[in-house]
Structures are given as structure tokens and as C-alpha cells.
Amino acid sequence: MSTWLLRRLVQALFVVLAMTVIVFVGVNVIGNPIDILISPDANAAERAQAIASLGLDKPLWQQYLSFLSGVLHGDLGRSFVYNEPAMRVILERLPATMELAVAAVLISILIGIPAGLYAGLRPNSWGARSLMAGSILGFSLPSFWIGLMMIMVFSVQLGWLPSTGRGATRALFGVQWSFLTRDGLVHMILPSINLALFNLSLIIRLTRAGVREALPSEYVRFARAKGLSPMRVVGVHVMKNILIPVVTVLGLEFATTIAFSVVTESIFAWPGMGKLIIDSISVLDRPVIVAYLMLIVMLFVTVNLVVDLLYVVLDPRVRLEQQG
């Protein structure tokens, strides 16, 4: 178990290291940082001075090492646009993104599991069929288009919900949150539903498949034969076995949700990390781009690691396999 853990950790570290190489090479070798960093009006002396101060005259491996030490210290340069450390600019946007992602995951759980249970228990009903058809659409349609349609219907035509921005926020632990005010909550409805749709479809299908698999099994028949109420059979016995895949997928999908918040935030002008990265790419704010990429890669590797560990904890079969 501990050797497995060690191997897994080394592997994760290796992935992060490989990503720093890729991002560094991508930004510094494929793109030309001199063109991006130095104003085209600068004269030759100014250029040379800027190149020296940025360390661009050093050999590539030295540049990479200083970049790497910068990553380790969380120092990835200053944003050109905000004139603040790039990492701070991103971390300031983190709460807005997290808030949206958590809301999306909550929506997909609170609606997805009951809907999946219903579809699994009454597979031939009209409601279950339309749920399944809807979930296919949730998978295959691009989420930005669904977002646009939501704005068109609920904001422009019906005028029920606001289409852009975070609304009023209130501070908690020194951070501004939208979910603490009524106005903020109303602003969260459309973006969080939009972000939730993919996971919602996934959870409905997973739960349904789990129910279909569990219902004919021995332990469910035994629980029924004992005379337990249908509520208890489904709510306790069936649920327990459905939750393992759902928890795993949700863990993995949480990181995906954050990656996809790029799209949702752009549509609904939600001031989070995703909108920041798109804005930064369009104005070539290189330090912010690099910092975002590094941050999100680390987030991913960490989430994957945690999910792997959780899997070992949750599922005894995996644990036995590791030992055996």
C-alpha cells in the first residue's frame, strides 16, 4: 500500500514536471516572449536592457530553472494588464469560479440522483424515456449553445432572470460571495444550471444504470423478502452500491467542471478564473496565462490523486488487489 502510494505520488510529481516543461517550451520557444513582453516602440538599448532584466539572454535551461523556482515560490511574474502578481490576480477570481462549480455539482447531485432513481425504477415510463433522451442531448450539445438559448429564453424573451454578472455580493472570511445575497443567488441560477447540465446527464445515466443492475441482484431480493419497505430497500440497500461510481465520477468531474467553467463564465460574463484566462489570451497577458495553466494542472493532478486514494478507501476490492 505504501509503495503504491509512493509510486503514485512520484507519478503525479512527474506529470506536473512534464507540464512545466511543456508550458515553458510552448511559451518561450514556440511563442517569442520578446515580441510579447517588449513594446515595439522600444529602441535597441531599451530592448537589450529589457531582455537582460527578464533573463532572456541566458541559456534556455537556466531560464527553465528560474521559471521552475518561480513556480515553486508561486511567483510567476506580474500581469501586464493588472500590474499585480499573476498568481494573485488568478486567486482573486478563484472564489467566483469555486462558487459556481460547487453550485453546479450540488444541482447535478440533488436533481440527478432522484431523477436517475426514478428512471431506473420505472424504466418504461414516459418520464424516464424523456429523461434519457434529454440526457443524451445534455451530453452531445455544446454547452455554450445551451447557455445562449437559456439567455435568449429566460433573460431576453421572458425577462425572468439576469443574464450577466455576479449580482450583489457579501463578504465572508474576507472574500466576496454571491450566494449570500438574494440578488447574487438569482444571478447564479442560469450559469450554474448551464455548468451543471453535463454532470447532471452523467449522474442520471450512472444512477439509472446502477439501479437497473442492483434491482435483480440477490441482496435486493433478500432485502425485499425480509419485508423491508420499498423506500428502505431503495434508499439504503440500492443507494449504497450506486454511490461508489457516482462519488468517483463526481470527484473526477469536479476538475472538469472547473475547466468547463471557462465557457460558462464567458457566456454569462461571470468574473471568475475562466473568464480571466480567455480575456488574458486575447490580450496576450502571458504571466497570467502561464500561471493559470500551472495552477489548473496542479489542481488536476491533485484531484486525480485524491480520487485514486478515495477509491482505495471506498472500495475494498481495490484495496485487496493492491495488497495481493
Binding site: V15, V23, G26, V27, I30, G31, I136, L137, S140, L141, P142, S143, F144, W145, L148, M149, I151, M152, S155, V156, S163, A255, T256, A259, F260, V262, V263, S266, I267, I277, I278, I281, S282, I289, L293, I296, F300, N304
Partner: protein, 299 residues
């Protein structure tokens, strides 16, 4: 009984496949729509009412007209015009071209690269296999959106860069599928027979193994094509994808987005509808292909 067996014996595999495929009305409709869309994209210059990128043909006076309006020259704008006075319908027909070229092209390239690597992994085994499959696992643990975002953030926009990003996102799916079916196939007698004939490894892999691994790869390819088109549209919508000079459906939708809030829905609604139709049609075809090509589900 005897008559039915003779009929089956006379049917070619392809005819049986077609017969199975048309069992589903939805899938057939999807196939017809897919073909129509493809046809539209191919013959775009001949069927579109105007060339939306020929500045002589567009008139800024016709800008933002609702669907069904008629221009000063008597040209009817069936789906309205955008802010530059371009006919939306023409824009869609030309946009379909870019979307399909980028989507289908990248799915095809990724298919060739991914399938080859998957087949090689299964056939050669050893460290080659573990190296390739480790790479596949790594690739699949990152969401496609993030990988594409990363590549385009570094390389900048452009049709070639988008295709490169899509290929890098997609190849792993083919590799995994190809390896899976190749592992099952390579133990069959015909592979042994081919090896006994002392055929070269490349010949065994690509002439004997590959054709028998094709069905699942075709299914994956269909779905990946729909995914590629959707992802390209998303990237272009975000301004990371194709340049303004070569607008795909996603970019057309992005152009109309700012006008949507002021009620001019048609500028991005109709390109969106075209995108939707394309993706749903391809998915319907893929769904039915999966059922038809899967021997386990055959009655």
C-alpha cells in the same frame, strides 16, 4: 426456415448492414440530414444566395435585418442579415464548410494516428505497449476542453492550430479502442496463419489486424467527429479557434451573441441551429452504427 437461410446467405454483409441500419427511422433521418449538410457544404458557392466574404456583394445598409427581409436590390434574406449586412443563410452554408473540414479532418487524422498506435501497442506489446498506454491514460485524465485551451493559449488561433489541438485531444480515444479490439483479434487463427506465412509485421498489422478492428473504430470515429465539431465551435465561440477570415459556425454564433441581448436573436440563433442539427444527426448515425456493428447485439 430454409428460405430464410438462403436469403441470408445471398445477402452481402454490406447489404445486411444497410438493412439493419434503416430499421431505425431516427437514424435514417439523421443519415439523410448528415448527407444534406455535407452536400450543402460541398456545393456552397453554387447554392448560397450570396458570397458572404465578397465585399462587393454585401451592403452595410442591409445590416441586422430580421428574417424574411428584402434588400434594396431585391435579394431576399431568408434568415436575416448580420451586423455587416451579410446574409445569414449564406454565412451558415460557408461556415458549415469550415466546421466540417476542421471537425472531420481532425477526427480522420486523429483516427489514423490513434488507431495505428493502438494496433502497434496491442501487437508489439512489452514496453512499447506500456509507453503508449501510459500516454493514453495521461491524456484521458485531462478534460478535452483543458487540453485544447492549453494548446491554443500557447500556439494562438488559426485553422491549423485548432486541428492540431483537436487531434491531440482525440487520438487517445482511438488508441484505446484499437488496442482493445486488437488484443481480442490477435489471438485468432487468421493472424496465426498470416504469421506462419512469414508476412512482415507491418503487413499483418495493417492488412489483417486492422480490417477486423474497423467496426468499433468507425463507431468511435463518428462520435469523435461530432465531438470535434462541437469543441471547435466552442473554441471559436471563445475566440480561441478559427480566425475571423475563416468563420466557422461557432464564430458566427459568437458574432451574433452581443446582438442577442438586444433581441436580434437571428444572427446567432440560426447558425446555432445548423450546428445543433449537424451534431445531433451525426450522433444519431453513430448510435445506430454502434448497435448495427456490434455482433453481440445482432439478432
Amino acid at each position: 426456415m430454409s428460405t430464410s437461410t438462403t436469403i441470408v446467405a445471398e445477402e452481402s454483409p454490406f447489404r445486411r448492414l444497410v438493412g439493419d441500419f434503416v430499421q431505425s427511422k431516427m437514424a435514417t433521418a439523421g443519415f439523410v440530414v448528415m448527407c444534406l449538410i455535407l452536400l450543402c457544404a460541398v456545393v456552397a458557392p453554387w447554392i448560397s444566395p450570396q458570397n458572404p466574404y465578397d465585399l462587393v456583394q454585401i451592403d452595410i445598409m442591409d445590416s441586422s435585418m430580421p428574417p424574411g427581409s428584402v434588400s434594396a436590390e431585391g435579394l431576399k434574406f431568408l434568415l436575416g442579415t448580420d451586423d455587416q449586412g451579410r446574409d445569414i443563410l449564406s454565412g451558415i452554408i460557408y461556415g458549415l464548410r469550415i466546421s466540417l473540414i476542421v471537425g472531420a479532418g481532425s477526427a480522420l487524422i486523429a483516427g489514423v494516428i490513434g488507431s495505428s498506435l493502438g494496433l502497434i501497442a496491442a501487437y508489439v506489446g512489452g514496453w512499447v505497449e506500456s509507453a503508449i498506454m501510459r500516454l493514453v491514460d495521461l491524456q484521458l485524465s485531462f478534460p478535452s476542453m483543458l487540453v485544447a485551451l492549453m494548446i491554443l493559449a500557447i500556439l494562438g488561433k488559426g485553422v491549423g492550430n485548432v486541428m492540431l489541438a483537436l487531434v491531440l485531444v482525440e487520438w487517445a480515444y482511438y488508441a484505446r479502442t484499437a488496442r482493445g479490439s486488437a488484443l481480442a483479434e490477435r489471438r485468432r487463427e487468421y493472424i496465426e496463419a498470416a504469421e506462419c506465412l512469414a508476412l512482415s509485421r507491418a503487413r499483418v498489422v495493417f492488412h489483417h489486424l486492422l480490417p477486423n478492428c474497423m467496426p468499433p473504430l468507425i463507431v468511435v470515429g463518428t462520435f469523435q467527429m461530432a465531438r470535434a465539431i462541437a469543441l471547435e465551435a466552442t473554441l471559436s465561440f471563445l475566440g480561441l479557434g478559427v480566425p475571423v477570415t475563416e468563420p466557422s459556425l461557432g464564430l458566427l454564433i459568437a458574432n451574433g451573441y452581443q446582438y442577442m441581448l438586444s433581441g436580434k436573436y437571428w444572427i446567432s440563433f440560426f447558425p446555432g441551429l445548423a450546428l445543433l442539427l449537424t451534431i445531433v444527426a451525426i450522433n444519431l448515425v453513430g448510435d445506430q452504427l454502434r448497435d448495427v456493428l456490434n455482433p453481440r447485439l445482432r439478432r
